[in-house]
Amino acid sequence: MIDPEVLAKIGRLDLKARAIVEGFMTGMHKSPYKGYSVEFAQHRGYVPGDDLKHIDWKVWGKSERFYIKQYEAETNLVCTLLVDSSTSMRYVGKDAHGKLSKLAWAQLAAAALTYLVLNQSDAVAAGTFADGINGWVERSTRKIHLQRVVDLLEQAPETKQTGIGKALHDLAQRVRRRGIVMVFSDLFDDVATLLPGLAHLRHGGHEVVVVQVLDHDELTFPFEGMVQFKGLEAPGIALCHPRSVKKAFLDELHKHLTAVKAACQKNGIEYVQADTHMPVDVVLSAYLARREHMAAAGGRG
């Protein structure tokens, strides 16, 4: 699922949170909060010199052997990835890169980001949604968490309804710990329902990034001849000459995109538009580079 080439291209980039998050990362993160808690990760055999307080006495009681507990380091960055798995995301245009549907593109992007975050020992939580969150994996920093995320993404159920607003509200309640929340969706929903969900997330103190994944066909409407359009998600059939309505359709879509962008800006949410015509790595690279540049500018300021 993960293109190693894609991974190789983004692996060098750091994902740095723009907003102030809880906790710290050794050498890379700083946390304003004191204290920390750890999570047990795994056992290893006792080696003389290890700190005795990390000996797992329960295991000694059972096995009369000495094992040291290894813990996951608690990080400041929790990256929550939410991918829209509604039916509308399954559209594949003729110009889609690698013939990826919007969903596949979003899945690939989410997986790549999971790898990147885990690689830098940050935590990733992931979920899928349609008319609500229909799949979820809790955050983890473990490398093997990548597979769990991938499995989640691949097994996302197809649902004809989209309810982004509900999903965002659900998410806001699930994710307590502040971090980055990235939502991958085509956002083909009423902006009025989208806005409160986004606002809820921001209210939780999260840095929210909305990646609107659109197919190139949706952005250019390139159809010729007589075409009967059947709704993938929304009901309806329309027989028309696409050329004759092209401009009007694109104007209508553009109005929606502008409204979405405005809603995001209003709530301090970062908005990224992704065209599936572009390879995932190109989009992510550009995005991450921009974040690094902005973080550097902000640090210097």
């Binding site: 085509d186 007589m226 709704g231 929304a234 309806g236 309505v245 092209k246």
Partner: protein
């Protein structure tokens, strides 16, 4: 409306192809499962009507283009009021061929008449099968060789080839009237008039001419009458110099001296003509050829110029003269001809009333005034040869024994009372074209004059019962002539202010009152007041009697009542009066073409045959008709050609001249727009000089072909469709 290729109209069904394609396209589509369906549905909801309208417009444009091209293939034509399939049927046609003088103009290689004949021939040859036609030759008269349209077109073409160019003016109304007179009686379904002319402006009636307007209205109201005008005129009036007028400076031309010919030239062009030569030619009076007599050169001619040319005549009789100028593109108006009666001697018989108790001297004064050479012969001079007027004095009693025909005029000088027989002789004498001059003095018996002469029409007015005294404003005896209103030829000389003092000199103490009858209701008067006294009463009166004239002086020619005989005016008045009446009502020897020549002949010649010869060598036979007054008249009306005519019998030859109307030399053409204004309701089809007449007539007959228009509209539809499709296509894709 007509379809020249009706079978091809079936291709218009191809107009259904765009519709069929549209329907097929709608049935052939691909299916796309679309994620952004809401946006698409919203778009369609907002724009469906506009989109459908655009689709309909584009489809209509495509369909229209196909239909129009198919219709153009069928070659539709449009002629108001006509509908036919596959061409035109037979027609009845009149070709009005302008053969006026201006058609002899050579604008290029051919004359306008050559072009006109070709056009007429083409029109006749292009007639549909079964058609009938005739030709009307139009100048200022209309002549038709064939009275009704004939289907024998070969004969018509022969007549056309032989049609001559006339020297007449142009009268479009005459030609059109003649054409309508023929066509109006024809009950054909299609009637056509082909007017072949140079559009000379002067030939067209004004738009407000009532008779013309009525003619046009009548023709326009008639069904199925088409007018075609073949315009063969070109150029302008530039380069046309014409001899406009030729006349003698004196009314009476005699052998007694040099005669002066006044020739008026006119340059009808804008550019001055340089070095215009003018030649005068005269004949010998015996029918011999004309010989050059004088020549002049006009250095620069702009507008008009009068040239004086001198000549002498050795003998009396009718002489032919010609004035010629140099060649130009219209030669026919470069020569003008005149026939003049040159007077050798005027024989005058003076009846001296003094022989019967009148005051002596009147006849003597008269003879001295009329024949000064005889009265006062100079040593070594042949007196009879010197005087143009040969006066003979007789007593009244000698009149009965004389043959009045030997004289041109008789003068009654204070004769008391002419006898009835004398009066009868005088009446016949005057009616035959001679003159009677009466001087009324103290010897005159007024009642006898009123009865004897007056009843025979030999008095210009009624004589009063007694002479009256002429007193001026202060009551002093003696008044003169009035010097106003001197229009009569006898006194016209005194209209010149330099000559008026002579007329004002004589003083009259007494005169006979003459009541001159004024005709009622504006009828033409045969009496006239030649001159008045200063108190307004008639002094000299005249009366036309038959072909002659009577002139009466209200005072005698002696010194008893006035000092007139002692004044220079007496010489002028008496000589001019004699010259005026001596030759009587002379026949007009110089006429316009197409005018009738009238020549009086002795009554004994009535019923005899005279031979008439025209300038082109044609001959015809004429028979004189007896008149009322014991005379006979021979008439020749076939005078379409300019030149000299002769009417002859035995050893007697009468000569005449005809000339074209001077206005015909104005070659200015009328613009087609101006012609159209003169044809309200009658829209002509125009044929230019360079166009194929038969083809243009066929177009005019079937109507204007519409295929170029339809094709242009079809192209416009396709262009509009392309542009609209481009404009309505989405941008930035």
């Amino acid at each position: 409306m007509n379809l020249l290729a009706p079978l091809l109209v079936g291709f218009t069904v191809l107009g259904a192809v765009p519709i069929i394609i549209h329907l097929l396209n709608r049935s052939r589509f691909r299916v796309v499962e679309w994620a952004a369906m809401e946006f698409l549905l919203r778009t369609l909801q907002k724009n469906s009507r506009r989109v459908q309208l655009r689709d309909v417009i584009l489809m209509l444009l495509r369909t229209a283009a196909v239909v129009l091209v198919a219709l153009a293939l069928a070659r539709p034509t449009y002629a108001p009021g006509r509908f036919a399939i596959g061409g035109s049927g037979s027609v009845s046609a009149v070709v009005v061929l302008d053969n006026s003088l201006s058609m002899g103009c050579r604008d290029a290689v051919d004359t306008r008449f050559d072009l006109a004949r070709k056009a007429a021939r083409s029109a006749i040859e292009g007639l549909p099968k079964g058609s009938a036609a005739t030709v009307v030759l139009m100048s200022d008269v209309a002549v038709s060789e064939v009275a009704e349209p004939t289907q024998d077109l070969a004969y018509l073409l022969t007549a056309l080839d032989q049609a001559p160019l006339s020297d007449g003016g142009t009268a479009i109304a005459t030609g059109l009237q003649a054409a309508w007179s023929i066509l109006g009686k024809v009950s054909a379904s299609a009637r056509e008039i082909y007017l072949v002319t140079d559009l000379q402006a002067r030939g067209w009636p004004a738009a407000d001419d009532v008779a013309w307007a009525e003619l046009v209205r009548t023709i326009a109201a008639a069904k199925d009458v088409r007018l075609f005008i073949a315009d063969v005129g070109r150029g302008d009036a530039a380069g046309n110099v014409a001899v406009e007028k030729v006349e003698f400076s004196d009314d009476l031309v005699g052998t007694d001296g040099e005669a002066t010919v006044l020739a008026t030239l006119r340059n009808h062009g804008e550019t001055p003509a340089i070095g215009v030569s003018v030649d005068l030619l005269v004949d010998d009076g015996k029918g011999g050829e004309l010989r050059p007599s004088a020549t002049a050169l006009v250095d620069e001619l702009s507008g008009t110029a009068q040239v004086r040319l001198a000549c002498r005549f050795d003998r009396g009789g009718r002489h032919r003269i010609e004035v010629r100028t140099g060649p130009d593109r219209l030669p026919a108006d470069n020569t003008r001809r005149v026939v003049v009666d040159v007077v050798d001697k005027i024989k005058v018989l003076i009846v001296d009333g003094a022989a019967e108790g009148g005051v002596p001297g009147g006849a003597t004064f008269l003879r001295a005034a009329l024949s000064p050479g005889i009265s006062m012969p100079a040593a070594g001079v042949d007196a009879s040869a010197a005087d143009q007027i040969e006066a003979t004095v007789v007593a009244p009693g000698q009149l009965a024994g004389l043959t009045l025909d030997d004289f041109q005029a008789v003068v009654l000088s204070d004769v008391a009372q002419p006898s009835a027989a004398v009066a009868d002789a005088l009446a016949s004498f005057v009616a035959g074209g001679r003159g009677l001059l009466i001087f009324l003095g103290g010897n005159v018996q007024p009642a006898a004059y009123n009865r004897i002469l007056g009843e025979r029409g030999l008095l210009p007015g009624t004589l009063g019962s007694a002479p009256r005294a002429l007193l001026d404003d202060k009551g002093v005896a003696g008044i003169g002539f009035a010097t106003a209103d001197l229009t009569h030829p006898i006194v016209a000389f005194f209209a010149d202010k330099a000559a008026q003092p002579w007329l004002a000199q004589p003083r009259f103490r007494q005169a006979w009152p003459l009541a001159v009858a004024v005709p009622a209701n504006g009828a033409k008067a045969d009496t006239a007041v030649v001159a008045r006294f200063a108190d307004g009463q008639p002094a000299v009166t005249s009366r036309a009697v038959g072909r002659g004239e009577v002139v009466a002086f209200a005072a005698p020619a002696d010194k008893e009542w006035s000092d007139l005989p002692l004044r220079p005016a007496f010489l002028m008045l008496t000589r001019r009066a004699i010259q005026h009446i001596a030759l009587g009502s002379r026949p007009r020897l110089t006429l316009a073409v197409n005018e009738t020549i009238v020549q009086g002949v002795p009554a004994r010649d009535a019923g005899e045959t005279f031979i008439a010869r025209d300038p082109r060598g044609g001959e015809s036979r004429l028979v004189p008709v007896a008149g009322r007054d014991g005379t006979a008249v021979v008439q020749l009306s076939a005078t379409a050609f300019a030149g000299f005519y002769e009417i002859a019998r035995d050893n007697v030859t009468f000569r005449f001249a005809t000339n074209p109307p001077a206005e015909e030399s104005d070659l200015a053409l009328l613009a087609r727009e101006a012609v159209a204004e003169r044809l309200p309701g009658l829209v002509p089809a125009w044929i230019g000089a360079d166009e194929n007449v038969a083809v243009r007539i066929e177009h005019g007959r079937t109507g204007r072909e519409l295929w170029p228009l339809l094709f242009a509209i079809a192209v416009a539809c396709l262009v509009a469709e392309s542009i609209l499709a481009l404009v309505w296509a989405p941008k930035g894709t």
